[in-house]
Amino acid sequence: MAAGTIKPRDASELRQAVEWALNDGVTLDVRGGGSKLDLGKPMQCNQVLDVSGISGIVDYAPEELVVTLRAGTPMREVEALLAQRNQMLAFEPPDLGPLLGRAPGEGTLVGAVMGNLAGPRRLSAGAARDHLLGFSGVNGRGEAFKSGGRVMKNVTGYDLSKLLAGSWGTLAVLDEVSVKVLPAPDQTRTLLLHGLDDAAAVPAMCAAMGSPHEISGAAHVGDKTALRIEGVAPSVEARLKGLRELLVASGAAMDELGTLESRTFWREVRDVAPLDADADAIVWRLSCPPTEGPVIVARIRAQRPSAKAFYDWSGGLVWLALPPTADADHLLVRAALGATGGHATLIRAPETTRASVPVLHPQSPALAALAARVKESLDPKGLFNPGRMV
């Protein structure tokens, strides 16, 4: 456990705190809202660096499609602000709090960026990485630095925003980010197909994704296969009609969810609610080629018949719940991914399991060595979240 918490109030104090840690050889457990403390490899740090005190919206320009905010700003504050102008974070960041046994709404936007999280709209709009336009922060040398900017198109210098997104706080501590926002859709409707099994559902979703009907969500939960259509009213109507015609061949019974029901349904998919019920189950998140999703799940079910799974991203994101075991069946899960490519992340497991099992997908020796050199280039003394990624 960390000996104490240091809570800077602005970028200058943040830099001083890191400089102090560097001078004293203190490792830092970097956190914002703390919503994902139970996700990832447990760490032994000397000190907690809590950035939640560096909070607030710096600038919001709806017609520029950009919001600039401080690192500790709660997600709910950002979402409420954007909703006033009918805009949204198009990557649909999940709130994993409830899945991880915490209250909903504790997360920060930067926390979602640090995990490169994305919800069902990942398919059509991208992940957090695709929406982070720029940042400023402090590297492991105690230096304030920045990358990117506030404009949509920018190729000036390396795109360190991509590197920081998904780095789980191991490369630098951010104090400010600029994020791309998009107009919220006027209408949201969902076409539901009933009764398809996994092997039939994924081809149906892939056919929908390959159609001109602009699907913004494709999930298969239980015996329901859901396809989301968003946009202006006449377009939504026409695309739903076209989609129904396209999928007649699947033989499935179809009905629709309206805007409000759709919001609830997709929020539950986003936050992994279908796997929430059994608090003891081990939860994995697998990213794979969409058509491989059901193949991988079948391999796992052959060994663990009680495994529960649902699919997002047209089959390319598998959420998997397994009965509790000390090693989380990590060898089984990763072998099931096989040679097709992809990665499996252990999302929920007891602390002892997360300490002994690789939470993130193991990399080839050359890639792991490269990742270690990249870490060193930003945090040479390993101050930030040591062990979380490298």
Binding site: W20, K153, K162
Partner: protein
């Protein structure tokens, strides 16, 4: 433009280097005679020319790995090159460096419609990907104007954009995976047919790294279904401010057009004379707004855009009646650069990005600078995402005009940064904007970027002289200074 001085030791060892390359790539793959190397002496930033040490055109990943390992072991610099269409000198040869051409990697390896992706070699052209899949109704979204010639590998290196990236993103948003060779000869795969990375997003870092980190040998791109309908709307305004207001109002109303381009009066005039697209010659600012999607949606959005434009004082509102007319509306815009080329011996094309809200102010300041420097400037730009392409007209045969054009260009880019924008939106830094990097970044920012390069290329052998105004050795950059005096920082709250 100063390039690093040539290393006499490398020049002396040229014979041995050529022989070593010939041992790796047999047959015609090594070009070391002057006539043979001539086509490689510049890229699309043709004002700057330099013969390479030798050209090598490998055909296999194994050969690329062997070449890079040889270069690392023997401390020979390497300039990677795709189709050589960089507008910033990103693939310009260096006199003491091997030019590593990837043109022979020109095959489409796999098309996977169910998973909506294609695996291609880096020498395949951007348009070649779309050509390979369009019979099934699919396409590859990023469409830089050089798409007929530019290679996918080059697109990865430059994070290329195009007129449709407001809605569909740049290269970085449309890639799923790459295979690449590191300077030490190691081959790594990043991503694949799945989304996102389980580790650091090195694919995102590689995209737009301008050939300074590794050599891409395979690319997996995301394919999209072609929209069923596309229509273009021509909107002419009596003032540039009116046109810029209209751009902001369209976006504020919740519409993200497939493309939204703006041209100033001079650009309209040139383009109209060149292709006869039917542009209104009285407009001070012309917008081309393209809306794509299902037909009913396009009809609905076209009507809304028309309404917004009229509310902002548009004097011309014309909607393309058919595909032929849509293509014609675009023809003028797409030919704008060559059209401007008709009225001037030379022009310099810039590429800054600014917040949309500052467009009018930036245009006004540019006009004032134009008077100061005594050089005309014509403006064509991606208004939807604030990416400017000012063209400075000059005569390269007049050394003073060239000097003034360069200074004018630098001033415009400084202006972009001053209003909250950036030096380059899609063309890259290369050699062209290298010396202006300090305008946008602090020395600490640049040192940090160079340290990231050190993780890939510890001896700065890949694409030397590009992007960074001054190179510092990795050993020096890697030193960590720890202060002796332990600072208590008593003011920061602790618990």
């Amino acid at each position: 433009m100063q390039m690093p001085p040539l290393d006499p030791d490398i020049l002396r060892r040229r014979g041995a280097i050529v022989a070593a390359l010939q041992a790796i790539v047999p047959g015609e793959g090594v070009i070391d005679d002057l006539d043979g190397m001539r086509p490689y002496e510049c890229d699309a930033l043709s004002a700057y020319r330099q013969m390479p040490l030798v050209v090598v055109l490998p055909e296999t990943v194994g050969q690329v790995a062997s070449i890079l390992r040889y270069c690392q072991d023997h401390q020979v610099k390497v300039v990677p090159r795709g189709a050589g269409t960089s507008l910033s000198g990103g693939s310009m040869p260096v006199g003491d460096a091997i030019l590593l051409g990837m043109a022979k990697f020109n095959r489409v390896l796999e098309i996977d419609y169910a998973n909506r992706c294609a695996r291609v070699q880096p020498g395949v052209t951007n348009l070649g990907v779309t050509k390979a899949v369009e019979h099934e109704g699919f396409y590859y979204a990023p469409d830089p104007s050089s798409q007929i010639a530019c290679s996918i590998g080059g697109n990865v290196a430059e994070n290329s954009g195009g007129v449709h990236c407001l809605k569909y993103g740049l290269t970085t948003n449309n890639l799923l995976g790459i295979e690449m060779v590191l300077m030490n000869g190691e081959v790594v795969r990043l991503g694949g047919k799945h989304l996102d990375s389980g580790g650091y997003d090195l694919l995102g870092l590689m995209t737009g790294s301008e050939g300074l980190l590794g050599v891409v040998t395979e690319v997996t791109v995301r394919l999209l279904r072609k929209p069923s309908t596309a229509r273009a709307v021509l909107l002419g305004f009596p003032t540039e401010a009116g046109a810029a207001d209209c751009v902001a109002a369209v976006i504020a109303s919740g519409i993200i057009p497939g493309g939204m381009e703006m041209m100033d009066k001079d650009a309209v005039q040139c383009a109209e004379n060149y292709v006869g697209a039917g542009y209104p010659l009285d407009a001070e600012g012309l917008l081309i707004v393209e809306l794509d999607g299902p037909e009913v949606e396009v009809d609905y959005l076209v009507a809304r855009v028309e309404e917004i434009a009229r509310g902002r004082g548009a004097t011309t509102v014309r909607v393309s009646r058919d595909e032929q007319e849509r293509v014609l509306f675009w023809a003028g815009r797409k030919a704008a650069f060559p059209a401007v080329g008709q009225i001037t011996p030379d022009y310099m094309c810039l590429d800054g990005s600014v917040p949309r809200g500052r467009l009018v102010e930036v245009l006004g300041e540019m006009r004032l600078m134009s008077k100061t420097y005594g050089l005309r400037v014509v403006n064509v730009f991606h208004a939807g995402d604030g990416n400017l392409h000012p063209l400075i007209l000059f005569d390269a045969n007049d050394p003073d005009e060239l000097r003034r054009a360069e200074e004018f260009g630098a001033d415009i880019l400084r202006l972009c940064v001053r209003v909250g924008g950036v030096l380059t939106g899609e063309h890259g830094v290369g050699i062209e904007k290298r010396d202006l990097m300090g305008v946008q970044f602090t020395e600490i920012d640049l040192d940090q970027q160079m340290r990231v390069k050190c993780a890939f290329d510890p001896d700065h052998l890949l694409n030397p002289g590009k992007v960074f105004p001054k190179l510092r050795r990795c050993a020096e950059l890697g030193r960590v200074t720890v202060h002796d005096n332990k600072l208590p920082f008593p003011d920061i709250p602790r618990f």
